[in-house]
């Protein structure tokens, strides 16, 4: 990748930076408030639990946090016909790819930084109690690490969650490229994930839901298995490909 392309990515990053900053601050404040509130309203046995309980309601809006600040440049590049002017100097597809890369990089850093900060905040304020019989984290994936080494677990979890954020952002970018209605384009990833969660719940397949992959310890530990989470992730990737193929074919037919 030569310097021109690096400069293009850097320019794209600078374009999204204010939105990234605002959304990072909002996401952090909401998460901190929720973690703080959970620490006061829940029985806490391990320092990471305020984060586990506090991040759950915030995760309801995770698809919005990972798309709203990052997909609008791609939408406006197309809607304003900017790509036609760009095509004189660089292939439009390549230009879009650089713009999307900038969005994905910033999305990754936002999710990673906000969540690791949330874990550290939880460890700082946790008001743990002893001599009570409560839920154990032992049966969960890396359960021992959650209990005994929450900082390391927080780093791993934040990295993993940032990857999940990238998947959602990718779906958002595809929709931003093809869908011409801004309202629809912004809400579509949130709606898709909401519906997927609902459908898997009513069919008794919540363990394979994509939602289960990004809500920490969401279900009973007996079903929170790596293979179940991988199925959820694979299904979402297949869905993303399918959406891209369908929208591309639809656009091809209409042109």
């Amino acid at each position: 990748m030569n310097r021109i392309y690096m400069r293009l990515i850097w320019k794209s990053i600078k374009r999204i930076l204010p939105a990234w900053l605002i959304s990072s601050v909002v996401y952090t404040l909401v998460l901190f408030f929720s973690v703080y509130s959970s620490n006061h309203t829940s029985l806490i046995m391990y320092p990471i639990q305020p984060y586990i309980y506090g991040s759950e309601p915030v995760d309801l809006f995770f698809p919005l946090f990972t798309t709203l600040p990052f997909v609008w440049p791609v939408f406006f590049l197309r809607i304003n016909n900017f790509l036609e002017y760009v095509s004189l100097r660089i292939k439009p597809g390549r230009y879009i790819a650089y713009q999307a890369s900038a969005s994905l990089i910033l999305c990754f850093f936002m999710v990673f930084l906000v969540n690791i900060t949330g874990v550290l905040f939880s460890l700082l304020i946790a008001n743990t109690v002893n001599n009570v019989q409560g839920p154990s984290l032992a049966g969960y994936i890396l359960g021992e690490m959650q209990m005994m080494n929450p900082v390391h677990f927080g780093l791993l979890w934040s990295f993993y969650k940032a990857i999940i954020g990238l998947l959602i952002c990718t779906l958002g970018l595809i929709l931003a490229y093809y869908v011409k209605n801004m309202f629809l384009m912004f809400l579509a990833p949130f709606t898709v994930i909401f519906l997927e969660n609902f459908l898997t719940a009513i069919t008794g397949l919540a363990r394979y839901s994509f939602t289960t992959t990004f809500v920490l310890n969401r279900l009973d530990s007996s079903v929170m298995l790596p293979k179940n989470l991988l199925i959820g992730i694979y299904m979402f990737i297949i869905l993303t490909f399918a959406v891209q193929r369908i929208l591309a074919r639809y656009e091809h037919q209409n042109n």
Partner: protein
């Protein structure tokens, strides 16, 4: 007083004492209730708190689907203690006591679903307010 009447009186007294203890919240009472979707609630019947501020106990037999719920003791004014989260099948839990839950007050358990649980969840088991 004849012997059979004495025995009968003692048996009735013991039964009444047992009922009073259960009513006073030191005995386990079963529950079977539906918890509403999207952070919705479900409730047990009331018990009378025996000891002000004491912890209660919950023996959860079944939580529907693969979901988890939260549980807390709540008095008839709606004031509630801290939630015990992650309540699942066949597990025993402490329900946090609260200093303003006084002896003699009516107490029940409130269950709550998580925010991302989009369906109602059936829960059953037994509990004691103490």
């Amino acid at each position: 007083m004849s012997k059979p009447i004495k025995v009968l009186s003692l048996a009735v007294a013991l039964l009444l004492l047992g009922a009073a203890i259960a009513y006073a919240g030191t005995g386990y009472v079963s529950y079977n209730t539906t918890v509403g979707s999207f952070h919705g609630a479900g409730y047990t019947s009331y018990q009378i708190k025996a000891y002000g501020g004491a912890n209660g106990y919950l023996s959860s037999s079944d939580v529907g689907g693969d979901y988890k719920v939260s549980a807390a003791m709540q008095d008839d004014d709606g004031t509630q203690g801290a939630y015990t989260n992650d309540v699942t099948d066949n597990t025993f839990y402490t329900l946090a006591g609260r200093s303003d839950h006084l002896a003699g007050e009516s107490i029940r358990v409130i269950f709550r679903n998580n925010w991302k649980t989009p369906v109602n969840v059936q829960v059953s088991g037994s509990w004691a307010s103490y």
